[in-house]
């Protein structure tokens, strides 16, 4: 290749790279050693609203003062000193540049969720003269993740927690109390003659009753309590730092509230009652399962004894000689 040919070749390459630089669906920023902006691609212009001519050769902190923190400066230093790559993950940082989100999801983040990285740019002598930052929009992924987490812990029909989530929480509470002592209780309840509701008014009505009862009971618990749909028409409530007497009083509130609640389904006023079992954690219990078993036994006693009532677990204190 003659001289002109080589120059022409490099000119073409430069043009191609310039076009990729502006066409790529990724933010690219180039900073020099004084942290002045030396490159700002089209993506950054579009999302920041700052045209390249307004930001080029200016201090990055002029436009983004919040970046003037020790973590960001430390990262820049390590790029220039060691040729390091630094990563700013979406999970930990959420974003580096506060841009508006462009997704149309119902769950909204305040700002575009970004995964960013920073690394060195070298000259012909292998000296680091600049650093690059790339910015990737992760909002959609973060929204999906958020939805998946929600779906994994909530019951689809009633919107309260599901059994899996409750069992995880119960295990945590159980292990903590095994180690450090203290008290907590659970209430399990079940809708009386639920099958009759379904048979008389249909399954849609059954679903309506489930929703209506869970939302009524949800208003009677504290923020720290967890209520879950445990089975078909069975619910379970975990009450941290609550002894059996207080828990029984809470159960009575549930019972009375549901007994007096009128559920209006398609003009039919339907009243239902619930039966409840209450149990508290004992250090002697071997596993969360033993506690659930005790509560379940109490619930079935309440059913046997005539329904619309509360039964408390039977526990014989082991007497130490």
């Amino acid at each position: 290749m003659d001289e002109g040919g080589v120059a022409g070749f490099y000119r073409t390459i430069r043009m191609i790279f310039q076009q990729i630089f502006d066409a790529i669906n990724l933010g690219i920023v180039i900073l020099d050693r004084d942290l002045k902006v030396q490159g700002w691609n089209r993506w950054m212009e579009v999302h920041s609203g700052i045209p390249v001519n307004d930001i080029i050769n200016t201090d990055i902190f002029n436009s983004f003062p919040h970046l003037n923190n020790s973590k960001f400066i430390r990262s820049c230093k390590s790029v220039f000193t060691f040729g390091n790559f630094c990563f700013f993950s979406q999970k930990l940082h959420h974003y580096l540049f506060p841009f508006k989100t462009t997704s149309y999801s119902d769950f909204r983040f305040d700002y575009m969720q970004q995964s960013c990285a920073m690394g060195p740019l070298r000259n012909d002598n292998n000296e680091i003269t600049n650093l690059f930052i790339y910015v990737q929009d992760m909002t959609e992924v973060a929204v999906y993740e958020h939805k998946l987490v929600e779906m994994n812990m909530r019951d689809g029909l009633t919107g309260i927690y599901n059994r899996r989530f409750l069992e995880t929480k119960l295990k945590e509470e159980f292990n903590r109390h095994k180690r450090y002592g203290g008290v907590f209780s659970i209430i399990m309840f079940d809708i009386d003659f639920f099958k009759k509701v379904n048979d008389t008014y249909g399954h849609q009505c059954g679903d309506f009753i489930l929703k209506s009862i869970s939302s009524r009971v949800a208003t009677l618990i504290r923020n720290v309590d967890f209520m879950a749909r445990y089975g078909g028409e069975e619910f379970c409530c975990l009450l941290p730092e609550t002894g059996i007497q207080a828990a029984t009083a809470v159960a009575e509130r549930f019972r009375s509230a549901i007994e007096h609640q009128e559920n209006n389904f398609d003009g039919n006023l339907i009243k239902v009652t619930i039966s409840l079992g209450v149990a508290e954690f004992k250090v002697e219990m071997e596993s969360p399962h033993s506690l659930i078993k005790k509560t379940d036994e109490a619930l079935y006693r309440a059913k046997r004894e005539g329904r619309n009532r509360i039964s408390v677990m039977e526990w014989e204190e082991t007497v130490h000689p």
Binding site: N69, S70, K71, R74, S75, K77, S78, T81, F82, G83, N84, F85, C86, F87, S89, L92, H93, A117, G119, R122, N126
Partner: protein, 215 residues
Amino acid sequence: MMETHEEQIFTSEELEILQEIMNIAFGKSAADLADVIDTHVVLNVPFIDIMQVTDLPSYILNYVKDYRNISIVEQNFWGRFKGDALLVFSSGSGKELITMLQHGENTSLESDPIEILERETLMEVGNIIIGACVGKLAELLKDVVTYTPPMIILERFYNDAISENHFDPDKTAIVLKTDFSFTEGNVSGFLFLITSNDSIQWMKEALRVFIAQYE
């Protein structure tokens, strides 16, 4: 047993040069680290061990067993010099580093649980230390490397943290090991750089070029 591997792969002269390069590299890294993270990191004299990859887990466990719980930051580096960097922190290092690096400045969100801060801090410091050591080493061997994002295992019992299936069993591992500690705060650990036979031919040549400039 180990010596036979060493002989097969590197001559004693090559090992000596590699040792010397590591001394220079880690010495320089320590000085530069002080500038970047405002605290002195003591990097002890590094060692080179060569072994079958399958022996790696027990080799590493043997060093870190006194810590009981450990956190590991892992990064791959890619150049002609390529491999895996494992930085093992002693238990509690993450919390110590949070206090050391924050300098009273509260950039974290109220809602961030301590575990997230711990992860972030260990990954950040791990990334810097690994980059410093690998970068200097590569620089002396006239290579430029890039890195994958750091991955972390946080505060796990040492025996559960390093698994057999972590490494490709058909390979030979060249392990460059150093221990480090921070002069401030109670932070210490080990750095293992594990590179495999893929890099050996290039490394031999790079070592020859390195020593040639002094001859």
